[in-house]
Structure formats: C-alpha cells, structure tokens
C-alpha cells in the first residue's frame, strides 16, 4: 500500500492566527522545576524564546509548591509552515456503507469473512473495540456483528497475545483487529510489537489483514510497527471493514 499524498504545487505558507492574518499568536503553558520567583518567570520566557517565539509574554505564573512553578504564556511565531510540502498519512481505501461492504464480500470472496478482535495485553478498555465490533456500534453506526457477511468475534479485554494468536488460528481469521488505548510510558508499542513478532514466528502474519486502532494510534505509527493500517478517534465499523475487504482484494490481485 502506498501513502496518500496531499500535495499542491506552489508553496503555501501559513502561520498561527490570533486576530490578524500572520500575527502568529500561540498560547502555551507548562511547568518548570523552579521555585516561583522572578527568575523562574524569566526562564519561562526563555523557554518561549527557545521555541523560536517572539514577543513572549508570561500572562500567568503560579507557585505549585515543592520547587515547581506553572506558567501560561502567549508569543508570536515568526516563521511559517509550508502546507504544500506536508503529506497526510492515511490508509488507502474508500469507506463504503455496511450494505456495500456485504455486497463486496459476496462478489469478491463468496464466503463469510472472519474478523477477530481484542484489546490486548494489559489494556482493558473495551469501549473502543466494542464500538467497532459489537452489534450496537457507535454513534448510530452499527458494529461488525451486524454485517451479514462478516463473522465478528470480539475477545474483549486484556487478551494475551498468545491467546489472541491461538484464537485467530483456530477460527481461521481473515483479519485481526487490535485495540490499544493506554499509551502511558509507551506500553502500547511494546504490546503491539509483541503481537507482530508472535504472528511472524507462527508464519501467519502475511495471511492476515492486521489492523490496530485507538485514540492515540495513527496510520503512520501502525505502519512503522508492521501493521497494515492504523485507525484513530472517530473510526466506525464501516471504515475498518472497507479497508479490510479492499486490502484483501488488493492482495489477491498481486
């Protein structure tokens, strides 16, 4: 799969907008490990300047105790970002409606596809994977269980990678849907890597479409970790279903 590129020809420079084009106004806040005094305020301003901002002003400073101080600042960015040189990294597919997905499966595969999902390792946040898989769905978008041509098996929370892989083999899964919500200390990276390694060890990685989702998951990250796609906030069942079926078709062709 290639990345979708959003590129225009001419440079298109933008800069933050406060109340006038290109004034560059940015609000920021942070804590410094310094006792609350004038020097700390100076240091806060210096942080703003180190970020390349001009006219940095400390609009609020507070003593947090224990040698910490909190600051709210405003400053002006004088450099610009060239939007024409930016790319948006996202999985390449067309979102189809539920009915269209079912029809697509009938036409191209002529059998029910098996999707196995789980919130793996220590993560117990099932609301996201449930939103994708369970009948009820999310925000009025039905979940995968409601798709006639998909057998959706949701293993739920805190499923060990070993257990997950075993279940995938047992069910002859076409796609694995992994959810990772907790990202503290990058625990998701370890968990996700562990799963891929295990699938590769079992020699099944390429037989499956492997996707991951979560509020702090991007497609870019997913690809880096060896997944076929990553889905962030506001994903619905039809998005991931569309991706999986189109990806399967793409693979058949090649």
């Amino acid at each position: 799969m290639t990345l979708q590129q959003t590129q225009t020809d001419a440079a298109c420079l933008v800069r933050p907008y406060g109340d006038t084009l290109d004034d560059g106004v940015v609000q920021f806040s942070f804590t410094l490990p310094l006792p609350h005094d004038e020097l700390a305020c100076e240091a806060a301003r210096a942080v703003g300047e180190a970020m390349g901002l001009h006219e940095v002003s400390v609009s609020c400073s507070r003593d947090l105790g224990q040698g910490f101080s909190f600051f709210v600042l405003y400053g002006k960015m004088t450099t610009s970002v060239d939007v024409s040189r930016l790319t948006v990294n996202k999985a390449e597919f067309e979102t189809m409606k539920k009915e269209a997905v079912d029809r697509f499966i009938q036409e191209h595969f002529g059998r029910k596809l098996v999707f196995v999902g789980a919130c793996i390792e220590t993560d117990a946040h099932t609301v996201g994977i449930d939103a994708i898989m369970n009948m009820k769905g999310y925000n009025g978008h039905k979940g995968l269980e409601s798709y006639h041509e998909i057998q959706a098996v949701n293993l739920g929370a805190q499923v060990g990678s070993d257990e997950f892989v075993a279940k995938a083999l047992e069910l002859n899964a076409d796609a694995l849907l992994v959810s990772q919500i907790v990202t503290q200390k990058n625990v998701h990276l370890a968990n996700l890597t562990r799963l891929v390694d295990m699938l590769e060890a079992e020699g099944v990685r390429d037989k499956l479409v492997l996707v991951v989702g979560g509020p702090r998951i991007s497609h870019e990250l997913a690809k880096e970790l060896g997944y076929d796609a990553g889905f962030g906030p506001n994903t619905y069942a039809e998005d991931v279903a569309s991706f999986v079926v189109q990806e399967m078709k793409r693979r058949e062709r090649s």
Partner: protein, 524 residues
C-alpha cells in the same frame, strides 16, 4: 421562573423616586440643546460626508451656525430655509457652506412654510427609519433569532474588514448578537469619523460606512445560519445623538446607551449628557433599537457586594429616562455584571440574589448581563471556570442578553479561538441547564432572599435621598461608581447651547411615542 419574595410596595416606591429624579433633570435642561443634537438633526435631513481635511459636513455647518450665533434656533430651519431659497438639497447647502459659497442666515421668509418643509423632510427621514425597523421585523419573522439568554459577542480588531471575518465566524459558531467595539478615545471626539476604517486601538471606529459594511455581512451570515444576527454599537460619548441616527439609518439592532455613563466614566458634562441621551433615545425608540445601559461599569471600579444597590438605583433612573424618551420596557436592556469577588465565600449566592432581584424588578426588560472582567487574571484556565459560573448564573436567573466572557479578558481583546471557546462554554451550560431556573426555589428564610431584601431596601433609601438632593448633586457626591463629577465641569460643556424662543426641531415630536406600526413585544 424562580421567584424571590419581593415587596412590590418597595419597588413602587423606588420607581416613584426614580421618576421624580428623572423629571427634575428633564426640567433643568429643557431650555437647552447641544451641538451634536443639531448635527444629528442635519444628518437626518441628509447631510453626510467630510471636507478635504476630514471634517464632517455636519460639524462645519453647525460651527458655521454657532459662529453666526444662529444655533439657538436650531440647525434645521436655517438649512431648510437655504434649501428652499436656493433649491438645493441639504447636502448641497452643506457643501456650499463648507467652501464659503454660502452664508446661512436667520430665515426671513415665511417661518411656517419653512417649518412645514422641515416637517416634510423630517417625515421622509422617519419613513426610512421605519422601513429599516420593518425590515428587521420581517427578517426576524422569517429567520428567527437566538433564544434567551442570547449570546452576545464582541469583535475588536480595530480593522472593520478583520472584524467582519471574525463576526461572521462567530455567527457561524452560534453568536446571536455581534457588538463592534469602538476604538479607545472615540467617545471624546466631538465629531464622527467617516468611511471604512482599519486603524483602531482595542476597537474599530464607529462610522456610518463601518456600520453599513458590518450590517451587510451579518445579514449574509444570518441568512446562512438561519438566524437574524443582531448588530450592536456604542451610542455613547460626545456624539451620542449622531450615532443614534447613523444606527437608525443602517439598521443596527442594539446600542450601548446610558443616561449617566458618559458623565461618570468619560467626564462628559452632565447637562450635555442628559440632553444627548434624551434625543438619542427618542431616535433609538423610533428605530426599534434595544438599548443597553452601562451599570455593569460601576462594578469595575466599585465593589459588587458593597455597591449592588447603586446598580439597581441607577437602573431605575435609566429606566425612567428611557420611558420618558419613548422607549418601551421591552427595549430597555438594563446592564449589570457578574463582578462578585471570586474569593468571597458564598459569592455566587450574592450574585444570584442580585441577578434574580433585577430580573423581578424589571420583568419585561431584556436584561444585559456582563461577564466577569475585573477579577479575571492571566490564568486562562481559571478564567474558563469563572465564565462557566457566570453562564450558570445567567441561565439560573433568566437573563436575556448574555455578553460572553473571554478567558483572556485580562490579556488581550478576543482572539478568534477565545470567542469560539467562550461560545462553546455558554452553549453547553445553557443547554445542559436549560430549565434549571424553573426547577429551583430559594428558601424564604435563606441567605439569598435576605440578601435581595437588603439590596432593595438600600436602593429605596438611596433613591429617596437623591430625590431630595437631585441627580447632579448625587453624582457630585460619588454616589455612583465611587466617582465624583462637577455639575458644571466635564468635556463638551461648550457644546451645550441655550435654545431661543424660536428654536425648532421637528424630530423629537415626530418620533415621540415611537413609530405607529411598532411591535416591540413581538420583535425582541
């Protein structure tokens, strides 16, 4: 609506005092006019534009009349006489005066004929204003408008074109009312700047062209969002009557317009202010404009708890002045503010007591509730919290015109994002608390009830005292906002002119009682 138990006899007593106070003032200034009333009248006759040096034509003509010692009879008749004599439009008369080609004189011909002509011309002006009023009513009928508390947002970039961008975005985000803040210092200019402007400080010049540009933009935004968007400006300062006229001609919907603000906060001469407010309110009444009074400002210099009664007393006086000018109760947007000290225990209770008391003393008024400003700090996160409680107080006490609080109040005039976040805050609070006011009652033996009684009693007493000493003396004694002004001092005093016996101005009478087809109760 939540109810406090309020002694109506006390309210009536206070209102009676306020009526007497306003009448005394009216009598004291009845024999005078001001330069800006005369300029406003000339604007109504159709004089506009500036000379090469940027001096407005109406100023040139009025100064010319002053120089000829003719202003005591009013500016209208000399100009109409010249129009008749020369077969010129009012604008042509002004141009001729400006280039020295014409010297205005005391009309010598048939005074009655000139008066009739003036009356006819004035009638045309009134019809234009009536048409604007009807157009507003029709648009509201068709598009609807925001439900109370209506969301009132300011734009203040200093540049009318940036203002328009921001106002349009605000309307799309949910604003019901847009106020274009005026540049610092304009209130003390004794003329109205001209044309589209891009160079204000902390606000944009109030010019007729700016009014027109913003009106057009908001009409378009209103059509797009399916809600009539109200436009507000400042009918205040040394040119109050002229701005009333400009607003009436360009279909503004609201005006900050107070009977004492200019005296107290801008040190404008008392008589001048009382005369100007009377004339401008008559125009506003005729144009179907909702006025917003400025009592909220008292609490930026005085303490909201200690001085709560001065707000109510001033509102009762403002109300009487407004009624006298012909404004209907439904268009008197009395102002107050959530300026209670956030560090005071039970401060929210005192605020609720005050807001609810005002709500009940003025049941028909579209109350204007101002957000916290004085106690806002550079801590924008705390600011969001302060504004949330303000929003809650507003919906709990049924306020009408709700000025959105900005989390950056203590830092800068609003950024685009500040306005968005303020709207989001208010919309959420109003929606999630929509019927809270219907649900709660205040304990009859409680602190809120006791506080409301106390404020009302103090108000009755204060007004009784002012009834004795007169309003001008009361202001001298710092009874409002803890600021003292001298009755004969202040800016613009030179612009107060004694009327001659033959003074004539068709507008106040023509506009008396508002337009006959006005439907105040339906339209706001």
């Amino acid at each position: 609506m939540t109810q406090l138990i309020i002694d109506q006899a006390l309210v009536d007593k206070a209102r009676g005092s306020a009526q007497n106070i306003a009448r005394q003032v009216k009598q004291a200034v009845d024999g005078m006019t001001t330069v800006t009333i005369e300029r406003a009248s000339l604007r109504l006759l159709g004089i506009d534009g500036v000379d090469a040096q940027g001096a407005p034509m109406v100023n040139i003509v009025v100064e010319h009349l002053l120089a000829q010692d003719l202003l005591g009879q009013g500016a209208v008749t000399p100009v109409v006489a010249a129009m008749e004599r020369r077969g010129m439009t009012a604008q042509e008369v002004a141009s001729a005066v400006a280039c020295g080609a014409l010297v205005l004189t005391k009309p010598d011909g048939n005074r009655e004929a000139i008066k009739n002509k003036a009356l006819q011309l004035a009638g045309e002006a009134c019809r234009k204003i009536s048409a604007n009023r009807r157009q507003r009513e029709e648009m509201i009928q068709r598009l609807g408008k925001g439900s109370a508390p209506q969301l009132y947002l300011i734009v203040a970039t200093g540049n009318i074109y940036e203002d328009i961008k921001q106002a349009t975005a605000a309307a799309h985000q949910g604003a019901d009312i847009i106020a274009v803040i005026r540049t610092t210092g304009q209130s003390l200019l004794d003329y109205v700047p001209y044309g589209a402007t891009t160079e204000g400080f902390g606000g944009t010049y109030a010019t007729q062209e700016n009014f027109r540009l913003m009106r057009r933009a908001l009409d378009a935004a209103g059509e797009a969002v399916g809600r009539y968007i109200y436009l507000t400006n400042y009918c205040s300062g040394l040119c109050m009557p002229e701005i009333a006229v400009m607003g009436a001609l360009e279909r503004l919907d609201m005006m900050l317009n107070d009977s004492m603000y200019g005296i107290i906060f801008r040190d404008i001469n008392m008589r001048r202010t009382f005369l100007d407010q009377f004339f401008s309110r008559r125009v506003n009444a005729y144009a179907g404009i909702i006025i917003n009074t400025g009592e909220d400002n008292y609490l930026t210099t005085a303490d909201a708890y200690e001085q709560a009664h001065t707000v109510l007393a001033s509102q009762l006086i403002n109300e009487q002045f407004a009624l006298m000018s012909g404004l209907k109760a439904e268009r008197i947007g009395l102002g107050h503010a959530f300026e209670i000290n956030p560090d005071s225990e039970d401060g929210f209770l005192w605020e609720i007591a005050h807001a609810q008391l005002i709500r009940q003393v003025f049941p028909q008024a579209p109350l204007k509730y101002m957000p916290p400003t004085k106690y806002m700090t550079g801590n924008i996160f705390k600011g969001q919290v302060q504004n949330t409680l303000f929003n809650a107080a507003s919906v709990m006490t049924g306020q009408t015109i709700h000025l959105l609080g900005m989390m950056t109040e203590a830092i800068h005039t609003p950024l685009l994002q500040d306005r968005y976040l303020a709207l989001e805050n208010a919309r959420y609070v109003f929606h999630t608390m929509r019927h809270l006011a219907d649900e709660i009652e205040f304990k009859p033996t409680g602190r809120i009830q006791a506080r409301a009684n106390e404020v009302l009693a103090q108000t009755v007493q204060m007004l009784a005292e002012i009834e004795q000493i007169g309003l001008m003396e009361a202001i001298r004694r710092k009874m409002f906002a803890e600021i003292s002004r001298q009755p004969d001092g202040g800016k613009g005093v030179a612009g107060v002119i004694n009327k001659n016996d033959d003074y004539y101005n068709p507008f106040p009478d023509l506009m008396q009682g508002g337009a006959s087809d006005d439907t105040a109760t339906n339209s706001n």
